[in-house]
């Protein structure tokens, strides 16, 4: 059970789902108009989310290796 992998849908949902609402100039964030800041924020979040999944997978792989053969990772 690797339910945390569902986190990977967040970038698509957040980035694209928010576009109609984020389509504005104000407020500026870090010098960027809001729409661009929204997109940049989600791109950074994508890396963070995928990093989190990677770490959790590593931990689970290590735990699984004790029990199963290391080559045979199940993919959900």
């Amino acid at each position: 059970m690797r339910r945390y992998r569902w986190l990977a849908v967040l970038p698509t949902l957040g980035l694209l789902g928010g576009i109609p609402f984020a389509n504005r100039v104000q407020p500026y964030i870090a010098g960027l108009p809001f729409l661009l800041a929204w997109i940049v924020g989600w791109v950074v979040a994508t890396s963070i989310i995928m990093g989190l999944i990677y770490r959790l997978d590593k931990r689970n792989d290590a735990a699984a290796e004790v029990a199963v053969s290391p080559v045979d990772h199940p993919i959900p």
Binding site: P11, T12, L16, N23, G31, L32, V40, V43, Y54
Partner: protein, 485 residues
């Protein structure tokens, strides 16, 4: 000779030397030449995968869109992030299958999965039809960059011939290893150059990012948001989804997946690449900065905005460095395209019509095709007029038509028959051609639809036709079962 021209020639020589040196220590059989002997670690695969985002299109087109269209350009920043989040799960599946069966091309993947050489040929034809225009686009970009940076001393024609000759030499010798080595140089240069000018120009001309954006918004109201019709949020979301769908279906990146040493490479890359592509942000900054500094570039000339503002702001040295970086954005993807197209035609067409061919012959054929493909592309670049524009528009939609076939075969056995997949692809491609030739949009197809529907990317129509035909044929045919390797 100006310093700019000197730098460009210097980097050009360096690229060829690197490309040739990449061969050292490797016997060049087909597996080495096409997929680097499946021995690339995280960094090389990273460089090949990053190749998709930093082509001449991003370099010239990214700044050109920001300059000419404004906010719609932001889509270029979005589709990569989405494709990378999917790649974490998708690429290991593809890699494992390819590794176990020693596949060398994308067409191989489909041919073996569906147990159909005919499907392999169909995918090969689609691939080459999409790859050649893509190469032409890179060569066009190369011509523009060199002639601009050299102040017209080197004509576009000369640059295109010289660039292609260099490509042929190191691609024939080193294959995908040449692409990987030269892309290391490319990424270092692009990173340095784009960040430097993306930070400097807004500061220099406007005093900061916010001040720059406010000046752009004042001069061109609405430039920083998506319009309510045309390139609207609906257009934006549908285009990002469609582009992300086609992202890994480009044959050169699909085969790039095979170069990896192990599947962990993709997981690491899925973490790093979204962040890495933020470099495109700096390309946008340059385009926005150019809006008020070098105004008046209309239509396709908007793509010159980056080079013009650099020319306007710096001396010949800087222009040379930027020109050289630009050349690399053309050569690296160009080399991957040549390797891939040569491999596909040899492996999935030549081998099918000549079943007795040995691996050695196929390898030889693949490499012999490289100069021919390059020559055809140069001639198309120099002579192709309107047809070329149409072909370019079709390229991305061509490869996207392989999406249903990919999704339906990710499990152990394909869910549908090869015949149904072929029918779907053919119907989809014909729809792409029809839509492109008639310049159809959803608005022209469905004039009575609400604006939101009208703005959807028309590529979805072809994908829809593909899916419907596929389902219809699938209902009356049986899927094949793949025997264990």
């Amino acid at each position: 000779m100006t310093p700019a021209l000197g730098i460009i020639i210097g980097v050009f020589v360096l690229v060829v030397a690197l490309g040739l040196a990449a061969r050292r220590g490797h016997e060049m059989n087909l597996e080495q030449w096409s997929v680097g002997g499946r021995g690339f670690g995280t960094i090389f695969v990273f460089l090949l995968m990053a190749g998709e985002i930093y082509t001449t299109f991003t370099f010239l087109g990214g700044s050109g869109w920001a300059y000419g269209k404004g906010a719609p350009a932001f889509y270029i920043l979005c589709y990569g992030a989405i494709a990378y989040s999917v790649s974490y799960f998708l690429l290991p599946i593809i890699w494992r299958f390819a590794q176990a069966r020693r596949l060398v091309s994308q067409a191989d993947f489909f041919a073996v999965k569906y147990d159909s050489r005919a499907l392999g040929v169909v995918v090969a034809v689609v691939s080459v039809a999409a790859l050649v225009p893509y190469l032409v686009l890179q060569l066009k970009g190369l011509g523009i960059i060199v002639s601009e940076a050299s102040g017209g001393v080197v004509t576009q024609q000369v640059a295109i011939w010289a660039g292609s000759a260099a490509l042929v030499v190191y691609v024939v010798v080193s294959g995908v290893r040449g692409s990987a080595w030269t892309s290391a140089l490319k990424d270092v240069m692009i990173l340095a150059v784009v960040i430097a000018i993306g930070v400097y120009l807004p500061m220099h001309y406007y005093g900061g990012y916010r001040a720059m954006f406010e000046a752009v918004e004042a001069a061109k109201p609405g430039a920083l948001t998506l319009p309510s019709s045309g390139m609207s949020p609906a257009w934006f979301v549908s285009t990002v989804l469609l582009t992300a769908t086609g992202f890994y279906l480009w044959p050169q990146f699909f085969a790039g997946v095979y170069t990896a040493r192990n599947e962990n490479v993709f997981r690491k890359n899925a973490v790093i690449l979204p962040l890495y592509q933020l470099i495109i942000l700096f390309v946008f900054f340059v385009g926005f900065a150019a809006t008020l500094v070098v105004p008046g570039l209309k239509g396709a000339d908007a793509d010159l905005s980056l080079l013009r503002i650099v020319e306007h702001s710096f001396g010949s040295w800087t222009l040379g460095i930027i020109g050289a970086a630009g050349i690399l954005t053309a050569l690296v993807p160009g080399s991957m395209i040549l390797v891939t197209a040569g491999t596909i035609l040899a492996q999935n067409v030549y081998r099918v019509i000549t079943p007795t061919a040995t691996d050695r012959t196929v390898s030889l054929v693949a490499r012999s095709l490289v100069p021919l493909l390059a020559l055809a592309s140069v001639l198309l670049t120099l002579r192709g007029g309107e047809t070329l524009v149409v072909m370019l528009l079709m390229g991305y939609n061509f490869v996207t038509q392989l999406f249903p076939a990919l999704i339906l075969c990710l499990g152990e056995n394909p869910r549908v028959s090869a015949a149904s997949v072929i029918a779907g692809i053919v119907a989809g491609e014909l729809t792409v051609v029809f839509l492109t030739v008639t310049s159809a949009t959803v608005a022209t197809l469905l004039p009575a639809a609400p604006q939101m529907i009208k703005d959807l990317n028309v590529g979805f129509v072809a994908l829809g036709v593909n899916a419907v035909v596929l389902c219809a044929v699938a209902l009356v045919t049986r899927p094949a079962t793949v025997s264990a390797a």
